[in-house]
Symmetry: D3
Subunit: 284 residues, 6 copies
């Protein structure tokens, strides 16, 4: 259950309106790695944990915090949109700044949301749950979280570089710091789980059931051997179960497949029309 | 540039058709963490690397391999659909197996693809590029890749558990082994980049520009202190830049925001109608 | 800012697992009118209110409550999935119940979420922000909310009818009651705003700027005059600004449009090829 | 069955081309609350009515009219795109108007549609049936329709404010008037159904089956009591079945849920790894 | 402008309900090549024709007819859903037919649409305008239309094979016949345009501006020479502008690209970290 | 299985950066008819061919080539983004070119991809598999391919017109030429299949099972007889099975449908409320 307080986690007030930056800032609110994504990803992971304890609590702590970040960004975006202009481009373009704003801002910020934030990214794609996941396997999911916080901090930093507004920079410096913590915390949790299990997810699948002869092999499918020099092609594997090796000229281990004709009620192209010319000898 | 050979990387032949499993197997072909996702993710990351060398080569090697995995799965799915039934449920349901197949299979496998694989997941969602990313920052992206291979191997293992077909299990044991390698290789690359840079992405943003006082703090937003006992709340931070701490009762650092009225041409609800009742003292 | 407590708003415990009902119940979690939709819709409306006071507070109260409903449903779904079977249909179908479960359950509940709830609807469509809106005009938005609660309660009632599990029915009886309240509250707020403004949204657009001669006219575009007998075609209009009327044989008020040819650099079909045969006399 | 006449319902001719406004005007053609949405929503509702008579006829009348509105907007947009420029920005930007047009117009209007209207909104999102609904319950659906016409008229009004073109304003004044009628007509139909049934949808669910003790209660989940002063927290409920009340400090009615471990074949994190630290006493 | 009559173009009445077939039949209503797709595709193409005459009229004739087909299918689906069961699977599965229906039907047909048709395909994907197009070039668009009618008739035929209901077959035999006509008519229009222009779209781009040395060459990128025997690799090209030829071992015509480093404010991986190992001699 | 070489099929180097054109060029990389679409469409068609021989080989040859085109476009876009500016619009807009770039470029090219290409179209819609198809019927699918190459070449030509950069034009002249070949080759394959089968897809459905009396009839649903003069309304049908005819005043062949009431557990509007006024005599 959730309680809300109206105070913000941290202040969200720009020095001046900037409708174009409002559009860009939507990326970390409603984009692939924005705050809606991390909030819902952490909450769903938390709700699905089959057990209680510190991992579940950590997920719920952080999920609830990300809701507060959505709120901060929504507030900042509404303020960046204060008094955003509408009007004829031909008139407006006499002032190049106004012209560029009218051409560059997200028109839905005026027409649809009435100068409010939206659950969309910086080009207007609506947020979708295709961005997130919760698998029931915490090591897998904490890696998803580390990725989300890495991409998210990178985007926040790029936005920081793109403005001179001290109010915006102030808020971003808070969010960037929290992303620092969140990368740190998922790393700490990952290290702990990797130590308890193994670095390969899931750790519970018996290794003898996989084709272990290719479990530590790099196949060179892109001409050029630069990748042969990497750690991933030399020495013991990271999971401690083998030695890395490199195959310069990988060959197929299967044959050319031949599919059976479809039954007549499917109305695929008939075999008589398909008319296979030649069947090479190595077909299966 | 790409060359194709018609032999499969590894064989993809089931013992017998199974249209319901064909539907399920679509998950690792066209789902969020399926082979289309990793193929296109690695290729786009590779094409966007601004420099050449071993990382780019590794991305292209692996991206090209994943194309071969799409091919294997597409072949397997087509064969699992061999002779899939259509027909009246009422007639079919006299045989419970046929009834369950007709009710459970993906109807598009008959109606749309004519017994062929589709770029969809196990419930029929079309593949979307919302699943993938390439940021230009390789540490961020290799974490995305590690996540994808972790989720992907987990799903392949779950599918392995769900069938007794030895042909399907044989192919899955190959794919699972390759996922083992791919987790290993991205881990190797990640460790190398973390050593060269720092564990926090991006490493190039000056730490003094972020609010460092909250860069290593866990805020307890979900009642219960289980998370206070974790490594993430105690000891030096993973990034080596501070000490973890825990705030049991986090308070807001901002005030209640009050947004300015919209201009009349936006036709939001008028301030006179909105009629704020009481303004608490701590509004900003 | 948000705080979470781990206790549920109301209990969410079924008598027994039921993976097929778990799939159906996803509709009111992650469907078009599910709890994610109302939670995010109310929160975004609240954050975008340009003023404070009772309407904003009501939105935040209710938005926070809907987060608790997501949590209840996620918990219930995870429990309905307890021990959900996987396995060969041919084997399973010997038990018709198992066969129907394997064919009918959402396969992603096993393969993707590891027996956890997902942000999807009952057929597996991922939740999308295309479902929701916040316009800055509260009368418009409260109508969106009334609609969402009407559709949502209707769906909850249909699900109530589809199960005999007393635990599920118990939880649904709570959610249905809350939907009763939420319909009541949005109605109360709507009546208040309609009294302050007018029933037509937005009320701030000068009526003389619209073509008032068609502001209260029903055009009969579907042959048959049943609709002529309704209140909407007789008597004073609801907005108090005119009298309803009915046009049995509506005629066009415009002419046949003729579009100018495209410039050559667009490479549309050339006018010489388009070759208009005859131009009727009433083209504009 | 449908017949088409080539004359427009009302004229759709701008004074001059304006590619940027063409992009904006797409919102009410192919956006969430645009004419495609209302046309298909009303038609599907009409086709699904299980009975005939005035409600079905009203839906079909209005659905057919909305098809004519799509046509008017498509025509207007094509004309606003007449002779739209393409070309190098660097060259074009010497004329600030041309520069702003090239930067601000929807590039698909040139590249994809060849200066034609598209089934997209003002940022280019393709229209999706996720926007619409038809539930079989007319009171629910008429509320959906009232919402659509409210949002739609609001957007049309905002677009009216954003142009000085008299031809565009003329057409919008027609559409705005029709939205006035459509809000009026759905209100009239809603009042009639509410009088026959009840204001709560669906009216056919026995009230004793819901948890009536919370059917008229406002829970204060967002700190601050402004909402306690509203009509929704005082006096008889709108549905006539109870009295509104207000709970200032809502407490959980459920316990902390503990989920059972997943079976081994799911490969979730093992209970031994999850390792619950402490189980608070009030878990269920 | 459109007029509607309530009579159907052709009857749509099944012999008996069949909720599973209702789900499958959705494919040709709301799927990629269903009736919504062709209706809106033809209408948008018609509205965007920059000229009048027979092509535009043909598009509008056929677009309006497809609206009638949506209506027929919506009616048929509602009737196939008459009295569709809901209820506990465990109870229901004692009757294998009921069990298979509950497991196999689209649950939204009960929960969401109240036994009505929906704008979705046979697995429940919502219809999206991503399925359709209108380019302004009629030869291109008529090819899109021919494709849509080919895929659509194929799907209708597959559905015809999947039922024994004489009422359903009767209606499908009408739709299949209309698809026959529509394939015929688009072919007739295509032949006419190809004769006036050229078979290559667009015909207005000067051939000397393309790299004509590869305008009629088949590159063998998939090992095996079966394709060398086709008409497309031998003899005069179809467009009459050259001779087909075949390149057995295609080589790259470009060099290995090296991208410049990103500016620091982008925070991509630094060149010093990327650390290119070896630069092959043929990079550009 | 696939091998990659790092050399490009053809060079992809602009004369100078142009972030706005980079955004536009995304259309033919990740748009509806872009290179991702054709690559995956041809590959899936190839993998699903139930037989081997020249058609399958042709599909695989061309699918592999399209992967190389994605690569060329990705490279070109990254270079067009070299050093793309970020920054305050107000500062930037003093230089109208910079202002127009900041307003007009895709902000995700800076924030999300770090100056790299993305799998999106020119307005930022993520690529979706809803764009493509593989039906198992090659004549249907080759028509899909001909359509894709027609739309794709048209878009490439429009982009060619929109730039003066000789490097971009050089690359486009290659792609346009390849589209010429691909239109030619699918035409050649189509003619061959049409000769073997019939022009109507699928050719295997017995003609006597369709309502042949309407298989060659044009119904005039859009007032005006221009379409009566076309080839499609006169003379022998293209499929050789009949004579075209024209019906000036098409009448319904069905009756007004009346749907049965829904069962009570669906909670649709009750028949007593629906209250059909009058039932016209020709209802079925």
């Amino acid at each position: 259950m959730f309680y809300h307080v109206k105070e913000l986690q941290y202040r969200a007030k720009p020095e001046r309106p900037d409708p174009l930056f409002a559009k860009q800032l939507q990326e970390i609110l409603g984009g692939q790695f924005g705050e809606i994504s991390v909030a819902l990803q952490y909450l769903f992971q938390g709700w699905n944990v089959r057990g209680n304890g510190k991992y579940k609590d950590l997920l719920m702590d952080t999920g609830a915090e990300e809701l507060a970040h959505i709120e901060m960004l929504a507030t900042m975006i509404a303020r960046l949109l204060d008094g955003a202009p509408v009007g004829d481009l031909e008139v407006a373009a006499k002032d190049p700044v106004i012209g560029a704003i009218l051409g560059g801002m997200n028109p839905q910020h005026a027409i649809v949301s009435g100068l409010g934030a939206m659950p969309v990214d910086s080009v207007g794609n609506r947020w979708t749950a295709s961005y997130i996941g919760a698998s029931g396997n915490l090591l897998a999911d904490f890696r998803a979280n580390l990725n989300a916080e890495s991409q998210g901090r990178l985007q926040a930093v790029r936005l920081y570089e793109a403005t001179t507004d001290r109010g915006v920079k102030d808020m971003l410096s808070w969010l960037i710091a929290r992303d620092t913590m969140h990368q740190n915390q998922w790393l700490a949790a990952i290290y702990e789980l990797e130590a308890k299990e193994n670095v390969v997810v899931p750790s519970t699948f018996p290794r003898e059931l996989e084709k272990q002869e290719v479990s530590h092999v790099l196949f060179n499918y892109s001409r050029g051997n630069e990748s042969a020099t990497g750690r991933w092609a030399n020495g013991p594997s990271i999971d401690g179960n083998g030695m890395f090796s490199y195959v310069e000229n990988p060959v197929p281990h299967g044959k050319i497949p031949v599919l059976k004709p479809a039954p007549p009620y499917i109305h695929d192209t008939l075999p008589s029309v398909l008319n296979t010319n030649l069947v090479p000898p190595n077909m299966c």
